[in-house]
């Protein structure tokens, strides 16, 4: 029996998606490989030191595979990366993969908390702005959003520390936990909030929350700016449609029209917006983590940057890039899966 046209179409779409994701990953690998090549440090000298003899230099050069043509070197690099070998960090002396596994959960915790804040505040703000289009509430929400697009995240973080930590004492300072709580909870997931809840250690949980609130709030503000803006424009599109007129005409309350009918219809595109915002928060966390001494992948990358620890920098770039691509793919798949029209 021949496959139905819709199955065939689905297979073609899946194939196209797979090809595009593979190409993007290939591009990411190529970019990091080329970046490593333009570093003005001789990797051989870094190994042998500048007092080595010419023979030793040549021998190490061949051992490192640097005598091979570029495409062979690239191929070897790809094989190593696919085997999870990103080399060793000069700074921590650990394999980069181990370092990243240790630092990544902190970033995931931060970005997730920030996204929750952005969703919880951004969607209602967008709905209200659309409902009051052109009125002061709309302008106020728009301005709050535009400021979010304009303020440097690291500066906002510093000012938040100055005001809420040093000034008012409402939140805890830099870091993930108070010092005397560190390493008191056994890492299960690496997410301190989850781990301390599993262990039932509420003092640690409270300390972790107090430390999380400022960086998550700062990052969440940027997520809010994006989500509220997109929500507003999706809502405006819906509110102009005839079914809204019908709903109003048959006497539904304005609240029901807005929050059930219109919002219900934009949930699918909103899911993709939230996924994209999560991806951009992973990136935004680089600067935020530096300010809050948050021991995540962002701090790891910037710390390694300043010490020209390129294995660590490129490993971090690869992981964040791959997560970014995965989240983009996820938002695409969710859209296809949730929206009946694309089935």
């Amino acid at each position: 029996m021949p496959a139905s046209p819709s199955v065939e179409r689905g297979a073609a779409t899946a194939l196209r998606l797979a090809v595009s994701v593979l190409l993007t990953l290939f591009g990411l690998l190529l970019a990091t490989f080329l970046i490593a090549r333009v570093v003005p440090i001789d990797p051989v000298l870094a190994v042998v030191g500048d007092r080595a003899s010419a023979e030793t230099y040549q021998r190490v050069r061949i051992e490192l595979g640097l005598d091979q043509p570029l495409y062979v070197q690239f191929w070897r690099y790809v094989v190593l990366v696919l085997h999870g070998d990103f080399g060793r960090s000069v700074l921590t002396r650990n394999p980069v993969v181990e370092d990243i596994a240790r630092f990544l959960p902190a970033t995931v915790e931060l970005a997730t908390a920030a996204t929750l804040i952005g969703v919880a505040l951004g969607i209602p703000a967008g709905v209200v702005a659309a409902a009051r289009q052109g009125r002061w509430a709309d302008h106020a929400i728009r301005l709050v959003g535009l400021v979010g697009y304009s303020v440097p995240v690291f500066w906002l973080g510093l000012m938040a520390l100055l005001l809420f930590y040093a000034g008012l004492g409402w939140a805890a300072g830099p870091g993930r936990l108070d010092i005397f709580y560190e390493d008191t909870v056994a890492p299960v997931t690496g997410l301190i909030l989850v781990d301390s809840a599993i262990a039932g250690d509420w003092a640690v949980l409270r300390s972790a929350l107090a430390h999380l609130v400022l960086p998550a709030g700062v990052l969440g503000y940027f997520s809010l700016a994006y989500i509220s803006r997109m929500t507003r424009s999706f809502m405006l599109e819906q509110l102009g449609q005839e079914y809204i007129v019908t709903a109003r005409a048959k006497g539904l309350s304005e609240r029901r029209v807005l929050w059930r009918h219109a919002l219900g219809n934009i949930l699918v595109p909103l899911v993709t917006v939230v996924a994209l915002s999560y991806a951009s928060l992973l990136e935004g966390s680089v600067l935020t983590e530096t300010v809050f001494a948050w021991p995540g992948i962002g701090s790891y990358i910037t710390g390694s940057l300043l010490n020209i620890d390129m294995n660590a920098v490129l490993g971090g770039t690869l992981v964040v890039g791959a997560l970014f691509i995965a989240l983009n793919l996820l938002s695409d798949l969710l859209y296809r899966w949730l929206d009946p029209r694309t089935r």
């Binding site: 190409l23 591009g27 890039g321």
Partner: protein, 305 residues
Amino acid sequence: MSRAAWAGQGWRAWLGSAAPNSRRQARLGEIYRFSRALMRHPLAAAGLAIVLLLVLIAALAPLLAPHAPSAQHLADRLRGPGAQHWLGTDELGRDILSRLLFGTRITLGIVALVTAIAAPIGLAIGCMAGYAGGWVDAALMRVTDVFLALPRLILALAFVAALGPGIENAVLAIALVAWPPYARIARAETLALRRSDFIAAALLAGASPGRIVARHIMPLCLASVIVRVSLDMAGVILIAAGLGFLGLGAQPPAPEWGAMIAAGRKYMLDQWWVAAMPGIAIAVVSLGFNLLGDGLRDVLDPKQR
């Protein structure tokens, strides 16, 4: 009708005429209508004002600044805002206001250079891809998509780390990650144009593909690219400031705003103004660009409202 005939009705009527007699009248009328529309948009007008002020300050910085930007007075270090130093002094006793005023030159310079590199590259790639079609289009757009799908800030960071810190490398790195959206937009515009009659006419007249792209298509794609560039400028300013903050952008003693925040961080708890003032400057300037870009998009494309 000659211009004299319009004299009784004034410049506005001449500019607003629906039936212009000359190319110049049509063009000036277009600019007039456009600026009227922009001015009716209060947020866009505010954005334009901020951007114009920024340009003015950059041009007149030596006249406006009360002190030399790098003059050190160690006896006056870390003074709070006051009559002598309106925004206070930094850890070397330099006047913060003067440094901010001179810093506009660095910020504007970075934005201008990034635009000058990224916009023509994006425009050329997009127009070529759109006009050529086929495998050229497919290949160029794949590359564009790959760049679009990668995290911009992190890639820029890695590039600067590899090339070495400094303002030139920061500009290069930002330009390298900034061009793909322009290519996408230019391609979309080109696809809409390539079947037009005037392109067919140019072809019949014997114009080469290169000439058609460069002389007939690229100028018409420029407007949409400019809108996108103005929307991106705030992002460029923020990335540049972020690189400066991490010590990868402009190097001291250059009065770059991001680097100034990084320097002020050490004294933040007691001398907040050293870190706070440059941040406000960055926020105001990128807000100006955001407002202007938003307004331009509203005015040029009513669909987006």
